[in-house]
């Protein structure tokens, strides 16, 4: 084998070896451990009442947070790419802030605003609204951590699209809403979808912020990730692994969706 | 340094880029590899440079078989079509790169870079970055960079393709004069026959991975070996199997019994010459190239009927 080819092979083995040790083996291990004793224990673990509740709660929260973030994201993207005002850079930074903040800090910050002793605490108590230690708080926490995705993925697509098509629609008499719905949105839809996929994955997997905000009350404010921790702490490794595998499968589904969509958006990754 | 290519073949998958190509380039010659896209000329150049390896055949530079030697050991200077500047380095560092790789002392590098920048007329731009240069300047920097290590052979891959007409014309002239000064064996690739004719001492016409003909510009123009070469070099009228050069066609006032009758369809004044599109008596279309004076004498205008005398047409064996 020539020196060149040997070098190439060596580099490849190093990279793949690293990935195998860090990603591949652990993930493979979890699937193995979970199904080690067959399907039955996994099934009963996954259908335990608290597990089921956690699953549906997770979905419910995601079903609220993600659409909200999608609307926000598209709106923000339009504002930043098509609007004309000073402070765009600053606004962009603010939207990106959730990326720089630890989820635990997000949880804390939300408690400081919406908790009983928080800024809005009195007002909320007076009006009988419970946010912290309840589902609404968890929705807000989830929304915060998954906020930037749709905006970030939509912006470049909007930028590349340019205003020509939109201006053409205007000259043909379309209203702003019509232009948006029939010209802009269809053109950016894959960017939006990709952002929604990322946002959903992040929302489903959120742990730290929701952990603080939820109070971790079993059967009431436990999402699936919180449930995994709960089972672990109670030495129910079967239960923990089963829930973990469920989440892992959802994650793999997300990866698949991301991969399929990558071709449609500006090719982000090498193929 | 003389270059010899012996029976080189190269294919990319199913595509045959070069089929058994052999070529000799004399020491100090300025040669053009001319042909349409896909003719294999760039591939041949890259094989000579060592940037590609042939599937079979040999490359000999200065009597040494370099077929298995990698590019960096062949002592060839290569100028890329889009200049391949090192964008993160200044012009000075770009030009001096080959010398710094050879661990020459800094003072020597500075001296040589200065000399070369003077040669290519980029003095004063040493501290600029490639992103700040124009196309023509980038091309000259690329040339200076290749010459810095005193290559035995200089190879240029469509060096002027990405430039606009005016700059192209200037650089062609400039390359010719540079070669007169430096006398390095130079091979350049082009698809522009005018460029090849104007600059090169020897032209190698390629098509579909083969060499059609090699010779001086005059030889190729006046004695083309086949119809491809004739059509590629210089304008041509095709009448069935026969080929006639537009400026070999004589146009005369209409006189009985002399030449063939033809109708003037269109007259195009191209400044120094005039192009006349004619329809022959038998319905075929040809075009002729004549001087301004000739056109004036004939009082050329559309719709006119004239006599046309065709030279002995060239026919090539199938």
């Amino acid at each position: 084998m020539s020196a060149n080819a040997a070098r190439r092979l060596g580099v490849r083995m190093l990279a793949l070896g690293y990935l195998a040790l860090l990603l591949g083996a652990p993930v493979g291990m979890i699937f193995y451990r979970t199904f080690e004793h067959g399907l039955a224990p996994v099934w009963s673990a996954v259908t335990a009442p608290n597990a089921e509740h956690a699953f549906w709660l997770s979905l419910e929260i995601v079903a609220i947070a993600v659409p909200l973030n999608t609307i926000f994201g598209i709106g923000m993207a339009l504002l930043l790419e098509r609007g004309r005002f000073w402070g765009k850079g600053l606004l962009g930074l603010v939207i990106d802030l959730p990326f720089a903040i630890s989820p635990v800090v997000v949880g804390l910050a939300l408690v400081l605003v919406y908790g009983k002793t928080g800024w809005l605490g009195d007002w909320l108590t007076t009006n009988g609204i419970q946010i912290i230690f309840s589902v609404p708080g968890m929705v807000i926490a989830t929304a915060v951590v998954s906020l930037p995705f749709v905006a970030r993925e939509t912006m470049p697509v909007l930028r590349e699209l340019g205003i020509d098509a939109e201006q053409a629609a205007e000259t043909l008499g379309a209203s702003a809403w019509q232009t948006f719905w029939r010209v802009t949105l269809p053109a950016i839809r894959w960017g939006v979808v990709y952002g929604v996929v990322l946002s959903t994955a992040r929302a489903l997997g959120e742990f730290g912020a929701v952990s603080i905000v939820s109070g971790r009350i079993e059967g009431q404010t436990q999402t699936l990730p919180l449930y995994v921790q709960d089972r672990f702490e109670n030495f129910d490794s079967t239960g923990a692994y089963a829930a973990a595998v469920l989440l892992a499968l959802l994650a793999l589904g997300t990866l698949l969706a991301m991969n399929l969509l990558t071709r449609r958006t500006r090719g982000r990754t090498a193929s | 340094m003389a270059i010899e290519v012996r029976e080189v073949s190269k294919r990319f998958g199913d595509f045959v880029a070069l089929g058994d190509v052999s070529l000799r380039v004399g020491d100090g010659a300025l040669t053009a590899l001319l042909g349409p896209s896909g003719s294999g000329k760039s591939t041949l150049l890259r094989i000579i440079a060592g940037l590609e390896s042939p599937d079979s055949g040999e490359v000999v530079i200065d009597e040494q078989n370099v077929t298995d030697a990698p590019a960096r050991m062949r002592g060839v200077g290569f100028v890329f079509q889009h200049y391949a500047p090192f964008k993160h380095m200044t012009v000075h560092d770009n030009v001096g790169f080959g010398l710094s790789v050879r661990k020459r002392p800094k003072a020597e590098i500075r001296e040589r870079v200065k000399e070369l920048l003077g040669l290519v007329r980029l003095e004063g731009l040493a501290e600029r970055y490639p992103s700040q240069l124009s196309g023509g300047q980038l091309q000259r920097m690329a040339l200076a960079r290749a010459l810095a290590v005193q290559p035995q052979v200089l190879l240029l891959d469509e060096p002027f393709g990405a430039l606009d007409a005016q700059v192209r014309a200037e650089l062609r002239e400039w390359l010719r004069r540079l070669h007169e000064e430096i006398h390095v064996t130079t091979i350049f690739v082009t698809h522009d026959q005018e460029e090849a004719m104007e600059v090169a001492e020897q032209i190698v016409v390629m098509n579909k991975g083969r060499i059609e003909q090699a010779g001086t510009p005059r030889e190729l123009y006046e004695s083309p070996g086949n119809e491809f070469v004739m059509s590629f070099i210089g304008p041509v009228n095709r009448l069935g199997d026969a080929f006639v050069r537009p400026h070999d066609i004589e146009i005369l006032p209409s006189v009985e019994g002399v030449g063939t009758e033809a109708l003037v369809e269109r007259v195009v004044h191209l400044g120094f010459e005039v192009r006349v599109e004619l329809k022959l008596h038998d319905g075929r279309d040809i075009w002729a190239q004549i001087t301004r004076e000739n056109a004036q004498q004939l009082e050329l205008r559309e719709g006119q009927i004239l006599s046309v005398r065709l030279p002995a047409p060239r026919v090539f064996a199938a």
Binding site: T269 | F78, Q81
Partner: protein
């Protein structure tokens, strides 16, 4: 549907020309709603955080973060993150190289897998690492409750950043530059050192910045495998969580703001450096 009014007609009727969609499409109501959403979710909480952290003045802030347990946690966080992003810079670039320049069966699968840490919930990442590198590990490697486990978890969750940052740049890199260097006499190592890496530097730096910001805030993957032992394997985020559980909100807020500031400073500084290095390349 009635035929669209032609613009000529609209002008003739004195109707104002419809301006670009962004400026008017969102409209005042739209902009207002966006503003409220952003405030409720980001601006207000961050303001409350800063307020709480500074509520006792700088002396109180200082006291909170120089508390021995807090200091230990912060130091561990910063040190572990720094080491991890360095490893990422090397291996991330290596992996990106292999994914772009190399060919092998299953490459597309591997490429997709790189995003797994992005998609996987952090708690699951912790469980997954624990299964292989914790108690009862089939390969006999048990790093649970050690500092190494902190590094391991952080390596896992920050894997994609440098890879994904470098890949597109590598894809677009003009190989003619490398060929030019070779034709000028440079060997493969020199080409790597003087041509490829400098061209990739801005992207690597960018990826490192994102990795670092992510690493110092990481929580979920560390919860199980590190055991959260104070002064040993307790990181900043875990300390903050502990203080919140103990209703010591000022302490939690102080350390939070410190970590946030570090993240912003690092992001800002590295972004600046990356920008400067790439100003001639674009």
């Amino acid at each position: 549907m009635s035929p669209p009014p032609n613009s000529q007609g609209a002008l003739a009727l004195g109707r104002p020309r419809v301006p670009a969609i962004g400026a008017r499409g969102a409209g005042a109501l739209g902009k207002g709603l966006l503003g409220i959403y952003l405030s409720a979710l980001v601006l207000l909480p961050v303001a409350a955080l800063l307020s709480k952290a500074g509520s006792g003045g700088t002396s109180a802030f200082w006291r909170e973060i120089s508390n021995p347990e807090a200091l230990a946690a912060i130091k561990l966080t910063l040190a572990a993150s720094a080491i991890v992003v360095l490893i990422n810079a090397i291996f991330g670039t290596l992996i990106a190289w292999v994914l772009v320049r190399d060919e092998f069966p299953g490459k597309r699968f591997v490429n997709t897998l790189i995003d797994l840490p992005f998609a996987l919930p952090t708690i699951v990442a912790g469980v997954v690492l624990l299964a292989l590198y914790g108690k009862g590990s089939p390969v006999g490697v048990d790093v649970a409750f050690t500092r190494a486990s902190v590094g391991l978890a952080l390596l896992f969750v920050t894997l994609p950043f440098v890879v994904r940052s470098v890949q597109p740049v590598l894809l677009e890199l003009d190989q003619a530059m490398e060929e030019a260097a070779a034709s000028l006499g440079a060997g493969p190592a020199t080409v790597l050192r003087r041509i490829v890496l400098p061209s990739l530097a801005p992207a690597i730096i960018s990826g490192v910045a994102l990795s670092f910001a992510r690493a110092i805030g990481e929580y979920g993957s560390l919860v199980l495998i590190t055991g959260e032992l104070p002064f040993k394997t307790e990181v900043g985020s875990v300390y903050i969580f502990g203080q919140i559980s103990n209703e010591n909100l000022p302490a939690a807020a102080a350390v939070s703001v410190l970590l946030l500031l570090v993240a912003l400073v690092v992001l800002g500084a590295l972004s600046f450096v990356s920008h400067r290095r790439s100003r001639h390349v674009r």
